[in-house]
């Protein structure tokens, strides 16, 4: 009896989780089939009066939307790759190597995690302007790649990798580069997926920075494109919802592909 109760409880909570996580997405996808005046209508109605495909078809026929998806996707992949490289190398050095000024550098790196964006928005814009980076993919990919938070995460993870693994390699005369590439990188698959996914999403959902730095319509980012449906007085709600749904899909698919890795082989706890 208690067993059955436990089962009901577990699956009940599981169902609750699924509903809570999926409901807004489902609502958004369905709202994409609504007329613009119907989306925020109350009393609340989940399904549209009439299912309209025109929001979706209009978007899918819009070259600039598809291009923005493509450009953002390419940028996000580059961004994730660059930030993984930069941050994993740094994290490894902080976790395993011994060097001068280590402590102070560590504090500096981790402190950057807490800088409110608005504090340095203007001054970083000045920097990228002076570097001539405006209106390039580089201005979206490079400035945010180094991340204190990711270094923190990966270092915590590397601290948990058993020392015994490298000791053998060290006896064979392997240096830090060999140990990093041969031992740590292969072990990092799961952690890399978690960190990479976070970077990818941050890039995908970025809005303010692209608006600041990108004026070339060829390089428009997807959130920048979607913002054209919003205004103070009369938003194109149906298109906004359909567009947001289409923009969420590639990310969800990507996540489905990588979901196994996310759980497999992640060791972060520092256990032996």
């Amino acid at each position: 009896m208690t067993r059955l109760l436990g089962w009901i409880l577990r699956y009940g909570i599981a169902a609750l989780f699924v509903v809570a996580a999926v409901f807004p997405l489902a609502w958004m996808a369905v709202a994409g089939f609504k007329a613009k005046t119907e989306v925020v209508a109350t009393p609340f109605q989940f399904f549209p009066e009439v299912w309209r495909w025109d929001n979706y078809t209009q978007l899918l026929a819009d070259e600039s939307f598809l291009r923005s998806l493509g450009v953002t996707f390419a940028g996000a992949v580059l961004f994730a790759a660059l930030s993984l490289t930069v941050n994993a190398l740094g994290a490894y050095a902080f976790a395993r190597l011994d060097f001068a000024f280590k402590r102070i550098l560590w504090v500096v790196v981790i402190t950057t995690m807490f800088i409110p964006g608005i504090a340095i928005m203007l001054t970083s814009f000045v920097v990228v302007t002076q570097l001539g980076m405006l209106d390039t993919l580089a201005v979206l990919v490079i400035p945010g790649a180094a991340s204190g938070m990711q270094v923190f995460f990966l270092r915590q993870y590397y601290l948990g990798v058993p020392v015994a693994l490298e000791e053998a390699a060290q006896l064979d005369g392997a240096g830090p580069w060999r140990i990093f590439t041969r031992i740590f990188v292969p072990l990092s698959k799961g952690a890399f997926v978690v960190v990479g996914a976070t970077s990818f999403l941050a890039f995908w959902n970025a809005y303010v920075w692209p608006v600041l730095t990108i004026t070339d319509p060829e390089l428009f980012q997807v959130q920048q494109y979607l913002a054209t449906f919003r205004s103070d007085r009369a938003s194109e709600m149906g298109l906004l919802m359909a567009g947001s749904t289409l923009a969420a899909l590639p990310v969800i698919v990507l996540f489905l592909i990588f979901q196994r890795q996310i759980i497999a082989g992640v060791r972060i706890t520092g256990l032996k």
Binding site: T42, N87, K102, V108, T123, I142, M149, G270
Partner: protein, 313 residues
């Protein structure tokens, strides 16, 4: 700064029995090359702009007039502004709602995934991530509809249970918690997966041994699970704190900071000054003070949660 309590990793983790001199020099060289991309990028795009911002904060600056040096005046103005102080306190109250809830939800989720069938677990793992995919703007719109006074889903549902309609976003007492819910929701996915990864990392054998000793589920949780997850919980607390003290879009769209400033979180407060002030010194100084608050509280969290072993390997 208070962050010095974040300890650098101890030196002796792995250098036992190795000649120090040459090895260390070689390591320093390798370390510098490995760190170079990180430090260069941070230096150019984060630290230099930060120093520049600090410099600007000592001036009255509109970019068009000659800047006037005012020393600490901007900071004094901010610190003596009751509204700023209130917004920071409110922000801390907000994080006190969001962060523990997020960690608790993540913990519940991770334990749940462990205890259900493989298939259900797979479904859970995929769906939990979805909130992270949806942009904050959309989340704010959806939750505004859920909270709508007339015809909102929440009031409709409570109406079935015979409750009167509540103005969730219109009452000073409920508005902040009402904004906290989507904040928890947005961060739930990533936190849950990280927590799950940590949980799966604990060897089954520990629990089996404990069972043989007659330990119940609570004992296992407090004696095995929680202590071994300290590192993860620390990470989630610190990053969750840093993220939730900086929410801007949610209150901006859902309540405009009202009613009576009950949802004016620090970043919204700064944002308002940033957009409306003719000079930028005030908002930059306020943002830098918020930075100090974030750093100080995070250092405190490190100190509270830290155990030598967990953090330093």
């Amino acid at each position: 700064m208070a962050v010095t309590t974040l300890r650098a990793p101890a030196r002796d983790t792995r250098s036992r029995g190795r000649p120090a001199g040459r090895g260390r020099r070689r390591e320093t060289k390798a370390a510098l090359i490995m760190l170079a991309p990180l430090l260069i990028l941070l230096g150019i795009f984060v630290i230099w702009p930060l120093l520049h911002a600090v410099y600007i904060s000592f001036y009255t600056w509109s970019f068009y007039e000659a800047p006037v040096f005012v020393g600490l005046e901007n900071y004094l103005t901010v610190l003596t502004d009751q509204e700023f102080v209130d917004s920071v306190v409110r922000g801390l109250a907000f994080t006190a709602m969001v962060v523990p809830a997020q960690v608790a939800v993540a913990f519940l989720f991770a334990n749940l995934v462990k205890s259900v069938s493989r298939k259900t677990a797979a479904v859970l793992k995929v769906t939990i991530y979805i909130p992270a995919v949806i942009s904050e703007v959309i989340a704010a719109i959806v939750f505004s509809l859920i909270y709508a006074y007339r015809g909102g889903i929440l009031n409709w549902f409570l109406g079935l249970l015979g409750r009167e309609d509540t103005a969730w976003l219109g009452e000073t007492s409920t508005a902040l918690p009402a904004v906290a819910v989507p904040a928890i929701w947005i961060g739930m996915g990533v936190a849950s997966l990280i927590m799950l990864a940590g949980l799966l990392d604990i060897p089954e054998a520990y629990y089996e041994c404990a069972s043989l000793d007659g330990a119940g589920p609570w004992t296992k949780m407090f004696k095995i699970t929680l202590p071994l997850m300290k590192n993860i919980i620390l990470f989630l607390l610190v990053t969750g704190f840093a993220a939730s003290l900086q929410f801007l879009v949610l209150p901006l769209i859902m309540t405009q900071g009202g009613p009576v400033d009950s949802t004016t979180l620090p970043n919204l407060f700064i944002f308002r000054h940033f957009t409306n002030d003719l000079y930028i010194g005030y908002s930059i100084a306020a943002a830098l003070l918020l930075f100090a608050v974030l750093g100080a509280v995070s250092a405190l969290i490190f100190r509270l949660v830290r155990s030598e072993k967990a953090v330093d390997g």
